[in-house]
């Protein structure tokens, strides 16, 4: 625990990370960029979990455990996501998500 840095600092950092990630997901045209935004959002959540665990419930380990899981899942997600991007590229010669709109009504 670093003196002078309170829970609010962690939460603000986490919220900023989450917002940057969300902004990336919503605005990037490149599918790889969207995936990177997603990773940022997940890490923001991890930061949140660890901060709450460390500053409020030191004896409990749930937050740390959960973030470990999240990291694992995020790795899997990145694998599947990138595989999707590769097959998208093979099918359409492009990885622009705004061009992948075949399911429109």
């Amino acid at each position: 625990m670093i003196p002078g840095i309170t829970l609010d600092h962690y939460l603000l950092l986490s919220a900023a990370l989450f917002s940057i990630g969300l902004f990336g997901v919503l605005t990037r045209r490149n599918a790889v960029g969207v995936l990177m935004g997603l990773e940022l959002m997940l890490n923001a959540v991890n930061l949140n979990l660890v901060a709450f665990n460390g500053l409020l419930h030191r004896s409990a380990l749930g937050g740390q455990m959960l973030s470990l899981f999240t990291i694992t899942i995020a790795a899997a997600e990145a694998t599947v996501g990138l595989a999707l991007v590769v097959s998208l590229f093979r099918a359409r010669r492009s990885v622009r998500v705004d061009e992948a709109d075949l399911l429109k009504g």
């Binding site: 998500v97 705004d98 992948a100």
Partner: protein, 702 residues
């Protein structure tokens, strides 16, 4: 499940024959008829054996499963029984149905010999026999209704047997549709009966009705139930105004007319009313005089059809109207209750014998002459003696000449009418008896006596056709003797309908009333008069049991228990005051027919011309069919046209409006579906933010 008797096998035998024929011998002209004949003959043997068992022990034997069983606060316990109910009434019907059916199967071997669809014909016959047997064995109205519809279906199939003949097609459709009208009423009757009484099982009707309140708010439904059930009988037994299908049903092959449209299926209505007799009986005492309506419908139909029968020239149509008239006779007898019901069922039994005989005889004639027209026949007695003699036996039997079958059953009906105090109906029935004798002998003389066509090649039918004729002729002679006392047991001792439980209920009520109104102490009539009329509605109530009860009331100072009448024999009692006039009337009808159609005292054509419009009216069957046609064209189509307009424009308009609105909204909303993942994600974010802010606002932490 353990069966108390093998009655369930009786319908299963023809069904087995039908199924085997259907699966393996559908095209086999040689095997299918013989197998069907074998199955129904076996069923007949079994029925006879069962009937002998019932005569030894007349107590009803019920083998049933609870098909549907409900326990609730309205009914207590309500169940629908399916299975078999073997009692004297169903045993009688079993013998009649299988007997006539077996003879008709045998007869059809000869009659239908040259037909294309011989195997199909025997398939239908087997299915019909199964359905009819299932009907008569039913332990509840629900099972009866199922088989009721099945026999209707078989009737439809067999009327339309010559399906390439347009008139046969139309006749089969007519029979089906007209029957639907009656069956609808019957179905509502069954539902109402189940609702109000909490049962539709025959054996439970009596006990449940015994506790039926004879006065008070519950009185109305029972009369409605009785009349609705009777609607089913009106359709199936072809009573006015639903009689129109039966004459047209003669488009079917003649053996079918004998089996279905004379002896068995059309008697199902009579059978059903006899089965639910307790409902009619209680309705009479507690509600509207439903039995009197029954009697009037039957009486009207019998005279109505008898007059038409006198004018027709199609041999099968004469017999069809005769059947209508005789069914009307039975229904008339049912309506007066008590003894009348016994007499009606007895007439059903004898009528099955001689009317099947007459139809099969007419089939033999048609087979020989290749025409239905009486004017093209004549002098056939010399060419086909067996047919002629057996036909004569049938005519004498239906005319009510002793000691043939018709005499006994008609005499019992007339006696019941007289005893129950219906002088008007008694006279009506006598007039019908006169007409019956007249038109039957008109038929006989026109077909079998006289000169005839000298170039005719008509000859006697083969033995397969004459054997059933001879058997049925013997039955027509002897069937009536069943009501004679033999060994102290006669027809009426096995099958009888009494008001016993009702009389008991009357007594209880009178006692209760006397307790409430001391001024009427001990006076049954005065006590009941306090609660006004319904007992006057019971004017038909004078079977021996109730008459005894009424006379006992006059003298009894303290009404305690109903006097149980001494068990007297219910054998045929010869009442000369009824039998002699009835016989004379029958003989007069025969004599008139003899004079007009044999001796030519007068020329029938001139009589017809002399009667002018009356003859035209009767000859055209009182224009009932034309009236229905007019009703269809002008009333029915106008009403249904209006309903169709409403349906098309208002109901459909509403539906179309909804569909259009949904389409319009959808067309707008589909623009929101861009296919772009990021747009959806943005939507999710917006929705989430709205939810979060709303929650914060509501929880007050903002």
């Amino acid at each position: 499940m353990h069966f108390s008797n093998p009655s369930y096998l009786v319908p299963l035998l023809p069904l087995g024959g039908f199924l085997i024929n259907f699966l393996f011998f559908r095209k086999r002209r040689d095997v299918a008829p013989l197998l069907a004949l074998l199955a129904v003959t076996a069923a007949f043997g079994l029925s006879l054996w069962l009937a002998l068992g019932v005569m030894a022990d007349p107590a009803p034997k019920l083998d049933s499963l609870d098909w549907l069983s409900v326990t609730n606060q309205v009914f207590g316990h309500f169940s629908i029984q399916v299975g078999t109910l073997l009692d004297p009434l169903s045993a009688l019907m079993l013998v009649v149905v299988t007997g006539v059916s077996a003879l008709v199967h045998l007869y059809s071997l000869g009659y239908m010999h040259e037909e294309e669809g011989l195997a199909r014909f025997f398939l239908y016959l087997g299915l019909f026999t199964f359905s009819m047997l299932g009907l008569v064995l039913s332990p509840s109205l629900y099972q009866m209704y199922i088989f009721w519809e099945l026999v209707g279906l078989c009737s439809y199939l067999l009327i339309g047997f010559y399906y390439d003949k347009p008139s046969a097609n139309q006749a089969s459709k007519k029979a089906f549709v007209v029957n639907r009208v009656g069956d609808l009423g019957m179905f509502f009757g069954i539902l109402f009966l189940s609702y109000y009484l909490g049962t539709a099982n025959f054996l439970e009707l009596g006990p449940k009705l015994a506790g039926w309140p004879l006065f008070g708010p519950a009185w109305l439904p029972l009369g409605a139930v009785a009349l609705l059930l009777f609607m089913g009988a009106v359709g199936k037994s072809a009573q006015f105004p639903l009689h129109v299908w039966l004459p047209d049903a003669m488009e079917g092959p003649t053996p079918v007319s004998a089996l279905i449209h004379a002896a068995t299926m059309v008697a199902a209505g009579v059978f059903m009313v006899a089965r639910t007799y307790a409902v009619f009986d209680t309705a009479l005492l507690s509600s509207v005089d439903a039995p009197f309506v029954v009697a009037c419908v039957g009486g009207f139909t019998s005279i109505f059809a008898a007059t038409i029968a006198c004018t027709q020239f199609d041999i099968k149509r004469v017999l069809a109207y005769s059947t209508l008239s005789q069914l009307g006779y039975m229904v008339l007898a049912l309506g007066v209750g008590g003894l009348g019901v016994t007499a009606g069922v007895f007439h059903l039994f004898t009528h099955a014998c001689f009317k099947a005989l007459l139809f099969l005889g007419s089939g033999s004639v048609i087979h020989a002459v290749h025409s239905n027209d009486l004017r093209q026949m004549g002098g056939l007695r010399k060419r086909m003696p067996v047919t002629a003699w057996t036909f004569l036996a049938g005519c004498v039997a239906i005319a009510g000449v002793p000691p043939l079958a018709g005499f006994f059953s008609k005499d019992e009906i007339l006696a019941a009418l007289k005893e129950t105090g219906h002088p008007g109906l008694y006279i009506l029935a006598s007039v019908v008896a006169f007409f019956t004798a007249f038109y039957m002998f008109r038929l006989y003389f026109l077909a079998f006596e006289g000169e005839g066509d000298p170039h005719s090649h008509a000859h006697e039918s083969p033995a397969t056709m004459t054997i059933p004729l001879v058997v049925l002729a013997l039955c027509s002679v002897a069937a009536g003797w069943a009501s004679l006392p033999g060994n102290g047991r006669s027809f009426g001792d096995y099958i009888h309908f009494e008001r016993g439980a009702q009389v008991q209920a009357d007594w209880t009520r009178a006692t209760d009333l006397a307790a409430v109104h001391p001024e009427a102490q001990g006076d049954y009539r005065a006590a009941t008069a306090l609660w006004a009329t319904p007992l006057d509605g019971a004017k038909g109530l004078s079977s021996t049991a109730s008459a005894a009860a009424l006379s006992a009331t006059a003298s009894a100072a303290v009404p305690v228990a109903a006097p149980v009448p001494a068990p007297e024999s219910r054998a045929f009692k010869l009442d000369l005051g009824v039998a002699v006039p009835a016989t004379l009337i029958g003989l007069a009808g025969i004599l008139l027919a003899f004079g007009v159609y044999r001796r030519r005292w007068v020329d029938p054509a001139r009589v017809a011309a002399g009667l002018g419009p009356i003859y035209t009216l009767v000859y055209n069957k009182y224009y009932v069919d034309e009236f229905y046609r007019w009703m269809m064209d002008h009333v029915y189509y106008a009403v249904s046209g209006a309903i169709a307009w409403f349906d098309r424009h208002v109901v459909d308009g509403l539906m179309n409006g909804l569909a259009w609105a949904a389409q319009f909204l959808g067309a707008g909303l589909r623009k929101a579906q861009t296919g772009r993942v990021q747009a959806y994600a943005l939507g999710m974010l917006a929705g989430l933010l709205i939810l979060v802010f709303t929650a914060m606002k509501l929880l007050g932490s903002y």
